[in-house]
């Protein structure tokens, strides 16, 4: 693997392989000193054009536990704001000797553009409403941790909410599908992209009708600006139709998992305190973030022989 920009760049075997590799990383993270020299001498630069402290810290922690050097490019104080083009910025940082860029950008496609301009590897940490592949890997790993199965054959996942504007939804539709799961998108038609039929997923507006049969209920964040844009009449109406309430939780099967990529919108899609949820995977999703990103960085940059070592 040279870059990880989209789940679609992975074959099903690559995906399973990365999840297996994550098991090793989880083991490392449980050691008293969770650090291995696997990426000693390598440099990972995080390039976050859009704020995301959680994702950035998760990547930087992952890099440090593999002994890579990290570089944080602060966009708000950089020369990108002084008229320097993105391409010039990338060339400059590449010249400093970077092995991997971790890129978050509000615009679709920027990680691909960057990979055309650098010899370093590129990891997409979220581009617009397009892809967020490491989040999908985290989610697959979290499910795997619970089911102890390498694939998701026979499982039914409902993804609920603003599919149209969600990179998490796009990456997860790809990843869950690749692992054999059946996916249903639950959203008002205004929050679905124009042509989802070719994704091979079902769609419905009836969350309640689905609750008893899903193995995973994946809730997406609804941003309040969707109301101003006329996608939904009001947050109240949205949360009534699509929010997770105590009543809805009670109708889930006993072993059904509830997931959310964070940050949550309490009172909108989450009308219940997640700590009151028996089968919430939300904390596991956060906890697994570092291990999954270690696996990705190791796969991209590692020589494959230092895994067992101690720092």
């Amino acid at each position: 693997m040279r870059h990880l920009r989209s789940i679609r760049e992975l074959g099903g075997e690559d995906l399973v392989g990365l999840l297996r590799l994550t098991d090793h990383m989880t083991e490392i993270n449980q050691r008293p000193v969770p650090r291995v020299p696997a990426l000693r001498g390598r440099t990972v630069a995080s390039l976050f054009f859009e704020d995301s402290t959680r994702t950035r810290l998760s990547f930087e922690t992952a890099a440090k536990r593999l002994s890579a050097d990290t570089m944080t490019f602060n966009v708000s104080t950089s020369s990108v704001n002084k008229g320097e083009s993105l391409r010039d910025t990338i060339a400059t940082i590449t010249d400093m000797g970077v092995d991997c860029f971790v890129v978050r950008h509000r615009s679709v496609g920027v990680p691909w553009q960057i990979s055309d301009w650098t010899t370093a590897s590129v990891v997409n940490a979220g581009d617009g409403a397009h892809q967020h592949p490491t989040q999908a890997l985290v989610d697959c790993y979290t499910i795997r941790e619970r089911t102890h199965a390498e694939r998701m054959d026979g499982m039914h996942v409902a993804i609920v909410g603003d599919i149209k504007h969600s990179r998490v939804a796009r990456s997860n539709v790809d990843a869950f599908g690749m692992l054999g799961a059946r996916v249903t998108l639950v959203a008002p038609p205004t929050l679905l992209p124009p042509d989802v039929a070719h994704w091979g997923v079902a769609t419905t507006q009836d969350l309640d009708g689905l609750l008893g049969e899903v193995d995973v209920l994946y809730m997406l964040r609804l941003q309040s600006e969707r109301m101003a844009q006329g996608h939904v009449p009001s947050l109240r109406e949205y949360s009534e139709q699509y929010g997770l309430t105590r009543t809805r939780v009670d109708r889930l099967r006993g072993d059904a998992m509830v997931m959310h990529p964070g940050p949550m919108n309490r009172g909108v899609e989450m009308q219940i305190d997640p700590s009151d949820l028996k089968n919430s995977m939300i904390h596991r999703q956060v906890a697994n973030g570092v291990s999954v990103r270690m696996a990705v960085l190791f796969d991209l940059l590692g020589a494959g022989s230092h895994l067992g070592g101690q720092a």
Partner: protein, 430 residues
């Protein structure tokens, strides 16, 4: 200064009454002789036209020459040179300059810069509304008196239907044509590409076909109401073609154009994330391409227009949503369009020269038959010549061609403007 006489030897002349092998002699800006091959004609300069069509020079209804205001991307001189390379002898300069072409001063400046460059007739269009803001009418009568015949807010459609109605009513008596960029802006907010399966995958806001078709429909009906003449710029959807076809069936005074890129490139190219494929209206589907080509063949679409839109490289190195729309077109149009449309030479010249000359109302000087006494604005082109586009070797100041490395068939060998070769053997003479 009297220009040298020129002899185009060995070509096939394409006129309205047919094609025939003939040598063409030009002197003093006019065609002096069209004679059977082998006739003894003497001239200072002899250009080989063997294997080529010789026709009236091409007329582009839609060129963004960027001067004044964005000379970093193109100037009237470099744009005219690009046009000459493409076989054009007249270019309608779009008014979205800075300042916009909404005053006699700016329009005169553009025309004068065209004359100074001397590589093609630069025909300034005028704005429909002041500053292309869609709020109040530009001085249409004053601009018409200054020679402007085509008015458009290109880049923006005139959104307000009442203002558009007034514009058409006001223009009716002036002997001018209003041209519309059809886009209902409320339906395309933030749009980057066609609304399609590909935009679904990419998570990009879609530009629905309806946004174009609604305005085509509105304006067809406004033409029916007002009786004014209307030209539809760069149509991109199958349904738009159908609407214009129906309007023509009803005898309404409407004309329409299509660009080479909307006849050749599809929306899925945006999956390369390369902003060179971002254009407004956006690239559409294969079905739209077929419908547009059918529209050209049956005469629903009158003209090929390039929408030549140069942008400096740094602007096309931005993210897809931030990059400005537009692609180069003047130098590649023949090679893109000729093999795809498969038209008879006469029908090709009709959409590249005769019809656009009439729509731009420059048909006293352009789009004429190649005959003694006619202005010598001529294109000599080889429909069999294959070539690959090298962005680094274009005459345009910019390089944003979507055809880099693509093999095209059909190339201009010589262009004569006012009797003088502006292009000789595919190379600009100055």
């Amino acid at each position: 200064m009297s220009a040298a006489s020129v002899l185009l030897r060995g070509g096939t002349v394409v006129n309205r009454d047919g094609e025939r092998a003939a040598d063409v002699r030009v002197e003093g800006g006019l065609v002096t002789d069209v004679a059977a091959p082998g006739t003894r004609l003497v001239a200072d300069v002899v250009l080989d036209a063997a294997g080529c069509m010789v026709s009236s020079g091409f007329v582009d209804l839609h060129a963004h020459l960027r001067e004044p205001g964005k000379e970093e991307a193109e100037t009237i001189e470099t744009g005219s040179r690009a046009g000459a390379i493409g076989g054009y002898t007249a270019l309608v300069a779009m008014p979205n300059t800075d300042p916009a072409q909404d005053s006699v001063a700016v329009v005169d400046f553009v025309r004068e810069q065209g004359k100074r460059a001397g590589l093609a007739e630069v025909v300034p269009s005028g704005c429909i509304t002041t500053g292309r803001r869609g709020e109040s009418l530009a001085p249409l009568a004053e601009l018409a008196a200054a020679g402007v015949r085509l008015f458009t807010d290109d880049g923006n459609g005139v959104q307000d239907p009442m203002l558009m109605r007034r514009a058409l009513e006001y223009a009716r008596g002036l002997g001018v044509t209003l041209a519309q960029h059809c886009e209902v802006a409320d339906l395309t907010r933030g749009a980057v590409m066609n609304e399609c399966a590909c935009c679904t995958d990419l998570g990009l806001p879609g530009w629905p076909a309806l946004a174009e078709e609604l305005m085509v429909y509105r304006d067809v009906e406004l033409v029916r109401l007002t009786g004014a003449t209307m030209h539809f710029l760069h149509l991109s959807t199958a349904r738009s073609v159908e609407l214009v076809r129906a309007a023509k069936r009803d005898g309404l005074p409407v004309t329409a154009e299509v660009t080479p890129h909307h006849l050749s490139l599809t929306d899925d190219l945006l999956a390369t994330y390369d902003p060179v494929y971002k254009v407004n209206p956006p690239l559409r589907s294969r079905a739209d391409i077929s419908a547009l080509a059918a529209g050209v063949r049956d005469g629903t679409i009158d003209a090929i227009a390039t929408d030549h839109a140069p942008h400096p490289r740094r602007d096309k190195e931005l993210a897809l949503d931030a990059a400005p729309p537009g692609m180069l077109g003047l130098e590649t149009s023949l090679g893109v369009v000729a093999p795809r449309l498969g038209l008879e030479p006469r029908d090709l010249v009709r959409v590249m020269s005769w019809n656009p000359a009439r729509i731009a109302r420059v048909d006293a000087r352009h789009g004429r038959d190649v005959a003694p006494g006619e202005p010598a604005n001529l294109a000599v082109f080889d429909l069999g010549a294959s070539w690959a586009v090298d962005p680094g070797r274009l005459a345009s100041k910019s390089t944003n061609t979507p055809y880099a490395g693509v093999a095209l068939t059909g190339r201009v060998r010589h262009t004569l403007y006012a009797g003088v070769p502006t292009v000789r053997d595919g190379v600009a003479t100055r």
